[in-house]
C-alpha cells in the first residue's frame, strides 16, 4: 500500500533502483493485471523473492492490487512517476520558458 508520508519519493527511487523490480514493472507494462503466479513464471526466482519485490513496489505506490474473486491482480500504477516528473522535470521547462520570456523582453527593450 502507498504511504502518504513525505518519504514517498525515496520509496519510488529505491523501488526503481533494483533491476528485478524494473523487470516486474516492464512485465506489467506489457500486460497489466497479473497474478503472482504469472509474474513468478517469468522470473528465475522463488515465489517468496517475487513477493518481496512486489511488496516494495506496492509500498512505493508503483503497483496497485485488486481482488478478482480468489485472485489478487497486480496493476502498474504510473502516477508516482508522473508526480516526480511534474515536480522535477517541469521545473526545467518552466525555467526555459521564463528564460525565453526574459530574452524576449530584453530584445524588445533594446529594439
Amino acid at each position: 500500500m502507498i504511504s502518504p508520508m513525505t518519504e514517498d519519493d525515496d520509496r519510488v527511487f529505491k523501488a526503481l533502483a533494483d533491476p528485478t523490480r524494473r523487470h516486474l514493472l516492464d512485465r506489467l507494462f506489457e500486460r497489466d493485471g497479473r497474478t503472482l503466479t504469472e509474474l513468478e513464471s517469468e522470473l528465475e526466482m522463488s515465489r517468496f523473492g517475487v513477493m518481496k519485490h512486489l511488496r516494495v513496489l506496492e509500498d512505493a505506490g508503483l503497483v496497485a492490487t485488486r481482488r478478482s474473486g480468489r485472485e489478487k491482480l497486480h496493476y502498474l500504477n504510473p502516477v508516482p512517476i508522473r508526480l516526480i516528473h511534474d515536480r522535477w522535470i517541469d521545473k526545467y521547462t518552466e525555467r526555459r520558458v521564463s528564460a525565453l520570456a526574459e530574452l524576449k523582453s530584453r530584445l524588445e527593450e533594446t529594439a
Binding site: 502518504p4 497489466d32 505506490g61 500504477n77 504510473p78 508522473r82 508526480l83 517541469d90
Partner: protein, 155 residues
C-alpha cells in the same frame, strides 16, 4: 534501450495519495469549476443520476449514466469517449472512483477504468498519460489550489 509496447488493457487501475478531505476530493471530481482546471479543460458535472462532460465551447464530450453515487466515498459511471468520433462508436466502458481516508489528513484515490474489452481505442487513449495526467493534475489542484496546466489560457 529497448522499447516495450503495451497492450492497453480491459481493466486499468490508478492510485494517488492526496492531502485533503474526502469531501474536497469528491467536489474536485464532480463539479465543473474544478474539473475545468485539471481535466483537459472539460467541465464535468456528476449528479446522482447523470454524468455530463462539456468542452470549453460547450460541446458534448461525455453524457452517461451514473451507476453508483455515494458521496464522498464511491462513484461509478459509464464512459463513452464522445470527444472523439472513432472512439465514440465503441461500447460504453465503466469508471469507478474510490476515496478512502488515510492517516495524517490524506486520502487514497483509486480509479478503476474497466469493461474496456470492446473498446480498444478508448483503452489505448486513457492508458499511458491519459489517467496519469488527470490524477496528477487533480492532486496538484486540490493540494495547492493551482492547476498544473492553465487550460483557460491555452484554449
Amino acid at each position: 534501450m529497448s522499447t516495450i509496447t503495451s497492450t492497453a488493457l480491459a481493466t486499468q487501475v490508478y492510485q494517488v495519495f492526496i492531502k485533503a478531505t474526502p469531501e474536497a476530493v469528491w467536489d474536485a471530481i464532480t463539479r465543473p469549476e474544478f474539473t475545468a482546471r485539471y481535466y483537459h479543460g472539460a467541465r464535468i458535472t456528476i449528479t446522482r443520476d447523470h454524468y455530463d462532460s462539456r468542452g470549453p465551447q460547450g460541446e458534448v464530450w461525455g453524457e452517461d449514466s451514473v451507476l453508483e453515487f455515494d458521496p464522498p466515498r464511491r462513484l461509478v459511471h459509464a464512459w463513452r469517449s464522445l470527444y472523439d468520433p472513432e472512439m465514440a462508436d465503441e461500447e460504453a466502458s465503466r469508471v469507478t472512483w474510490e476515496i478512502e481516508p488515510r492517516e495524517s489528513g490524506y486520502c487514497l484515490l483509486t480509479v478503476v477504468h474497466d469493461r474496456l474489452d470492446q473498446s480498444p481505442k478508448t483503452a489505448a487513449s486513457v492508458s499511458g498519460t491519459g489517467w496519469m495526467m488527470v490524477l496528477s493534475g487533480l492532486k496538484t489542484l486540490v493540494e495547492t489550489g493551482e492547476p498544473l496546466v492553465d487550460f483557460a489560457a491555452t484554449s
